[in-house]
Amino acid sequence: MAASNSTLLDARAVDRTLRRMADEILEKNDGTDDLVIVGIQRRGVQLAARIVSSISEREGVKIPSGALDITLYRDDLQTVGPRPVVGPTDIPIDIEGKVVVIVDDVLYTGRTIRAALDELADFGRPRRIALAVLIDRGGRELPIQPDVVGKVVSVPAGHRVDVFVKELDDKDAVILAPKEQAP
């Protein structure tokens, strides 16, 4: 019998956490100059958009943002089987010399971020790249660390963290769920 789900962040907590992350990004960058926010497909893109609008409320500046789909840079594509679906990538401005903040929902093995760093390098050479994640659940397989974290979570064996965003899932929430259960 599977254990029941537990809510790590509800909608209001997600909102609060993203606002705090936006503030931290501004603080670390000393304002909005040269700042570019890039969300990783899929839910990182929606989280990035929230951070962008939070920054624009606070600073009155609309900072440029984009979306990155890392599928074609995955390190497990040598395996045989149906290919994962490729989503849209959209980097609307030249990132050369900019400060790029990558936004993702859950940081786990670090392999997605490795792929994202490689992909960004094909668009230009930013002055600095930082990483902001809503959830850091540990379990890194690569030497990668976040600069801005919403919440650190320790995940019991056989469990996973699901992030829901209202644009795609009709609700905002972060839920700890047993693995075998479909989201």
Partner: protein, 321 residues
Amino acid sequence: MTLSLGKDLLSLEALSREQIQLVLDTAEPLKEISERAIKKVPTLRGATIANLFFEASTRTRVSFEFAEKRMSADAVNVAASGSSVSKGETLVDTARNLEAMRIDMVVIRHGSSGAAAFLADRIQSNVINAGDGTHEHPTQGLLDLLTLRDRFKKLDGLKVCICGDVLHSRVARSNIWGLTKMGAEVAVCGPRSLLPNAIESMGVTVFDRIEAAIEWADALNILRLQLERMQAGYIPSLREYNRVFGVTRERLDRAPKDVLILHPGPMNRGVEIDSDVADGPHSVILDQVTNGVAIRMAVLYLLSGGKASLADAAKSGGADS
């Protein structure tokens, strides 16, 4: 449920509506790669691809080559002239030799219908049909579908007329299969001598007058009239063909609505299509070329997961995050 294309891409006849949709949906985000500073993704690093072109081709060969390079595959080109093929080597021996050099995929253009399928049955590598005789040219069909979908945002219910030498055209066949599977209405228009017998059985309407076709259609896909057809007696003369079936500005101007113009190239300006139509505001002929690279990248990507020799042994596990 994850959909795949299997090991080979041989025809659109063999694909389901869902598989065609998968290729189009995969090609869409790949277009952006050709706009980057570095026009290359590492997806097919380490994969080797042989482009076997037994028939002359510039556009298709170059398009496949760009697609392969942008996906980081290593490609070799083998043309019939100047290779052991001209010394009498059989198709299957050529392919087996390439496979002995650990080729992962073969792209083949051949004058005989069924050549790609013949090869696919005999080698473990993925085989992509880049045109076989008068049978099919599936990647051309797919890029035509993508170009139409870009413009009309749908294929269901779209009215497309394929004009010209349908009888000898693998492009026509791939388009008819692809369009009908995607729910479009298909017609053909050309001299009866250049339309296959019983073409209606493929579910298409026949127009004998180009004016009627233009009036009916949302888009025309105008085929190249091969000049040899005149010598073979299919048509009386090129001038006559242009007078009766040529797509001209005057004819388009009389249509009740704008008609999108496609042509797989190379064009005979002043024969099947007039210059002011080919270069006109409703021509998407160059979009077809751009889309061709994205479609071929998508096909390479999707087939790269379907290697027959490894399919049973390997698991298709993926990373979580």
